[in-house]
Symmetry: C2
Subunit: 208 residues, 2 copies
Amino acid sequence: MAEKQRRKPGETREKLMSAALTLVGKGRHFASLGIREVTRQAGVVPTSFYRHFRNMDDLGLQLVDELGLVLRRMMREARANVLQADKLIEESVAIFISHAQANRSFFLFMAQGLAGESRAVQEGIRSEMRFFASELANDLRRLRLVDHLTDQDLDMTCDLVVRSVAFSLTDLLGVSADDDYQIDQIRKRTTRFLQLIFVGAAHWQSAG
Amino acid sequence: MAEKQRRKPGETREKLMSAALTLVGKGRHFASLGIREVTRQAGVVPTSFYRHFRNMDDLGLQLVDELGLVLRRMMREARANVLQADKLIEESVAIFISHAQANRSFFLFMAQGLAGESRAVQEGIRSEMRFFASELANDLRRLRLVDHLTDQDLDMTCDLVVRSVAFSLTDLLGVSADDDYQIDQIRKRTTRFLQLIFVGAAHWQSAG
DNA sequence: TGTCCGTGTGTACAAGTGTTCACTAATGTG
DNA sequence: CACATTAGTGAACACTTGTACACACGGACA
């Protein structure tokens, strides 16, 4: 019989979550993962799963929570590194892309979850995106870059920005993780998208 | 023994495809569907599946083909009904929303497939979107609404438009099919997104 | 020191899975 | 009409699946 391994608390839980992410990173869709498959990947007996999660949806929800942390780290880095306003878009997108590469599976999971099977996960990710958009709106206000926009129009703009960036995840998803050329193309395109949106915002008049 | 039912050619094939769509419409994710499940929903014996498809990915690919037809019908209707340029965006979005409601499962499948498990389905849907974007670019050129944009910038604009509209599918996905108020909100928001993008395009200068 | 309790393990089971096979009825083709 | 082809059927296969149960170990705390 295999020895019972005593691990530090929460280790198996983490193993299971990162096992699910690993499978997602290998191209599987989260909705198609099973409990046994995940435990197998984690090197843990199936019954252990229930010590930490009620079912796969539950695991998905906890992954969304961790995704929130990843996104917040990314925001912090962007705030720290994006100093000159004229390169704001370019640098923000670059930071996004580099985080997306460093946490590929996480962002794949995010892209999948937007149209996923679990309503709760879906709502969780949408909620993260709303939060992200509202933080972006705050930052832009603070930098006094959008003084001519009403709050509502600013919110709309940021919403569109976040969506466009999120959509680029599905581009990233299609290219292999080390195809630097393609990834750079995606970065450039996403940058142009945002520039176009901000040109629109600069000339937007609320009544329109 | 149940009678062997002779049906008109291709009927079982259609039954299987629409069975898969039905399940998607009920909130399931395509990637999590199994052959037996689909055949059960179609009221057909599991073995029949192999008469028409090699596996679920194959079925997915054929669904993408049909999705192409749906999209082309939609384009045709938009071209026929959108006459006055000043309401172009508003009416196009309205037509999109109404088609998305009329073919809910199809568009859910599309939203799922963008980050789906099958690389081939993914690429198929992206290809449909590219086609859609290039047709849109042609139309805009023909209407002489974007004379100041280079081809490349016009392509980018249309790409962004198509993405924004596609993303709104994930909004639609979250509200029940008969929640007219919410659907109208989505329609309005999507319309504003496109207006913002076109304001951006109007003031875009290629060198930027 | 003794006793919970959280977390790991192995076994078990019924139900569901993809796929193969041999069989058969209807259809199209000569 | 004879006949090959297509498209339906049921039975069977080896496996996988989710989940329940009883048990074992180690740390926290009395």
